[in-house]
Amino acid sequence: MQAFWHQLLSGLAMGSTYASVALALVMIFKATHQVNFAQGELAMFSTYVAFWLTGAGVPYWAAFLITLSFSFVAGLAIERILMRRIQHASPLTAVIVFIGLLVIFNSMAGWIFSATTQVFPSPFDGPHAWYGSVYLSPHEVGMIGMTLVVLTIVFVFFRFTRLGLAMRAAAENPQSSRLVGIRVGWMLALGWGLASALGAVAGMMAAPKLGLEPNMMGGVILYGFAAALLGGIDNPWGAPIGGFIVGVLENLAGAYLVGSHLKQTLALAVIVAVLVFKPSGLFGRTVVVRV
């Protein structure tokens, strides 16, 4: 029984990473109706930046914040410089650009930081970590806590701030947003920046568990897609919940059902099942419209 609880809870820990990635995907999807395939590689590259900073002697939390700023600016720049040029192109163009970005970041990471797996530090481990147990390692407790804090900040931002409201408005109705004076282009860029920073948190939280290497996020992004679809690709509340569910499913199925080698197939199975049986996802909202 203890083994079962361990599997379930550490599923929540990895699930927290999927939750952040899924939310990042949904944020960009809501605003642009594009699925950012490069989200994971961007997160991986940001994690390398954090790795480089901590290696150079910068304290962990300072490196953490610098990395967040770096990935925010990188996301913003990608939207401003690249994505806005193809905003009127066909959806396929966007897909190709995303795949291009994926390959570029993946190769750059290997080229700049080497492709061997690195040990990434956890700020939650150590002798002071009283919160570890047989069920969850201190780092796993920390990554769940960190994700909950970040998700709360994101929701408070979108729900209660003027800028958050403007971003939601720009995503829903760009034309009406312009008519009330919102600079829609900048809102999209801001969304990219936030999504990218969110991904960086996921990368830095996942790296101590997975080991940092250029393909680290390959599996995570797959589970992130599954999570976003399961929660409803159009629903920012559902995506994180989908992330936690997928994390738990992954662990339990890996331990009791299919074994660890087939675990990733499970993500694909979830994606296919959602698309076939409930394309709007578990929590997909339908906007009620009266005319």
Binding site: R162, L165, A166, E172, Q175, V180, V184
Partner: protein
């Protein structure tokens, strides 16, 4: 009276399709002007040209003497033009309150709460629906919300694209009565596009008549209403 809004020889086109040809229109400061015409005459395009919404424009458009043609839509909004667009432009998934707050997006002053009260004074039903998703409102309520949203920005000039569209006659009269109050008591200038010519003629100080993208007549409502040809073509009399 000085002109708040001036269009001088404005051509407008969607891609290769020319819609407006040499349109010249003026809205005086504090005035209320109607733009009438049949379906497809170019009324909506005129409003879209003023706000630079997806139309290619040639010619001069001035707000209070300053050129605004060619500027991005959001900058034109920042200069004080409130636009209630065709189809109402409601943020359907957001609440009524959020829709209204978005109207005041540009404002940093403390008068926003007072203006919310003012909008509820005009449209009490919006207060009852405050936390409801705007997509659940009826057509009439969404029209009120659209006007309320535009008022929240305290514009110098209000552009209205067929506020009577799809509404019950009694509701249309109510909305027109409120527009009159807004124009007279708040001195807000209004450019109104309407199909319902008869109602519009009772309301406004000046009329421009569009036909296939050109202004074919203009004048006071009395002059326009007295014109036999106009009456037959647009007023169904």
């Amino acid at each position: 009276m000085t002109a708040l809004l001036e269009l001088r020889g404005v051509d407008a086109a969607y891609g290769a399709t020319a819609v407006l040809r040499s349109v010249t229109i003026e809205v005086p400061e504090g005035g209320m002007v109607a733009l009438l015409g049949a379906n497809g005459a170019g009324k909506t395009t005129t409003l879209r040209a003023i706000c630079n919404m997806g139309v290619r424009v040639r010619g001069e458009i001035r707000l209070a003497g300053q050129r605004i043609d060619g500027q991005p839509t959001e900058s034109i909004a920042r200069r004080g033009i409130g636009h209630v667009p065709e189809g109402r432009g409601t943020f359907l998934s957001l609440t009524v309150e959020e829709n209204l707050r978005l109207g005041a997006y540009l404002r940093r002053d403390r008068g926003v709460a007072g203006d919310l009260t003012r909008v509820f004074g005009y449209f009490p039903v919006l207060k009852k629906r405050l936390h409801q998703q705007a997509g659940t409102l009826s057509g009439g309520e969404q029209q009120m919300l659209a006007i309320g949203r535009a008022l929240m920005s305290r514009p110098r000039l209000l552009l209205l694209d067929e506020p009577s569209f799809g509404l019950a006659p009694i509701l249309v009269q109510e909305i027109f009565r409120i527009l009159k109050v807004i124009n007279q008591e708040e001195r807000m200038s209004i450019l109104l596009v309407e199909q319902n010519a008869r109602l519009a003629l009772e309301l406004v100080g000046q009329v421009f008549l569009l036909e296939t993208g050109q202004v074919v007549a203009s004048g006071s409502p009395q002059q326009i209403g007295a014109d036999e040809a106009v009456r037959r073509a647009y007023l169904g009399q």
